[in-house]
Amino acid sequence: MRRLDALAAIYADLEECIVVTIMGAVAAELQSLGHRQNHFYLQHAMGLASSIGLGIALCRPELDVVVLDGDGSVLMNMGGLSTLGRYRPQRLTHVIFDNESLLSVGGFPTATSTGADLAGVAAAAGVPRTARVDTVEDFAAAFRAARTADELTTIVAKVDAHYEPPSNTKGFVTELGLLENRFQFARYLQTLGAD
């Protein structure tokens, strides 16, 4: 499956969620579908997207939080899966796009290419619901099931190690400034539900 197609399949659903992504292709492709102020793109600090999602979920447990992660990032913070499994925020959905590769830095294979099973790791770390999907249809179905399950879910979506820079994107750099995104996102979160 192409990651862009997977993102497009859930793009409408994301409008109702607080979305935290990793850097690189995921951030650029989601922005190519359309940036919204409920998206935060963690353009570095690899591994910490799920930690940011957990911090948001613990402080605002009534919100649906979606973390769009990757195999390279999760492998840098596998302990974070055990922290997620410990607190199990009910309305957090953790998507790991697994292309078995560090795509943005030359495509070198990660350990998921040699058998590391991140859905298995998440389950063993205490994440109550996990899924592993290979098609866009299965991904969209798993994502919607996760959002209605009221239980922390990790979905490992196997995707192609492929990236085509969208228009208005140079490599992985989009027109949206990092700090513009960060302050807009914080303001959005803090006004949400305040009225």
Binding site: A45, S51, G55, C59, T83
Partner: protein
């Protein structure tokens, strides 16, 4: 255990009085009472970490929601968090209060703590993180308040080093 309960209580009360509502922590000897106080406080969110760097992400997420937080960690935990601090908290201008037990200073009897003590202040300087050392109970409330004020005014990480004279009571 000669870790000071009284000093820990003053530090904890100062964090609470300054509006801190979430703390992340990894256990370390000098922090045991502080972590227990957070655990027993129904109005505090305590996040027990596997590794300290996660706490940078937790605090960033909390900040985005408008929640004040603090990271409780040993100086070796600070050293383990550096990439998250630089490419997370500094790059994205997150006000971050790091409360660091500063092991390895004069009086340190544990050989394994001694290298971290040599480099902590130099690394804080290299990262341009404003810091101060607290050695007395009288200074706790004022320094915690001032540290948070600067963190929020600058949108940057700041650090308070908890010193031996504050945290350790001679048996």
């Amino acid at each position: 255990m000669p870790v000071s309960v009284d000093s820990s209580q003053i530090i904890y009360d100062s964090l609470r009085a300054n509006g801190v509502r979430l703390v992340s922590a990894l256990p370390e000897t000098w922090l045991v009472h502080l972590i227990r106080m957070a655990e027993e406080d129904p109005e505090m969110i305590l996040v027990r970490l596997a590794k300290e760097e996660e706490g940078v992400g937790i605090s960033a997420g909390a900040h985005f929601t408008g929640t004040k937080s603090a990271m409780l960690m040993q100086n070796h935990g600070f050293l383990a968090s550096i990439n998250g601090i630089v490419s997370g908290a500094q790059l994205f201008r997150i006000p971050l209060l790091m409360v660091i037990s500063d092991r390895g200073s004069f009086g340190e009897a544990d050989p394994w703590q001694t290298e971290g003590g040599l480099v902590t202040e130099h690394v804080l300087d290299a990262l341009r993180i404003p810091f101060d050392r607290i050695e007395t109970r009288e200074a706790c409330a004022r320094q915690i308040g001032k540290a948070l004020t600067l963190a929020y005014a600058s949108n940057r990480p700041v650090a308070l080093l908890l010193g031996r004279d504050l945290m350790w009571e001679a048996a």
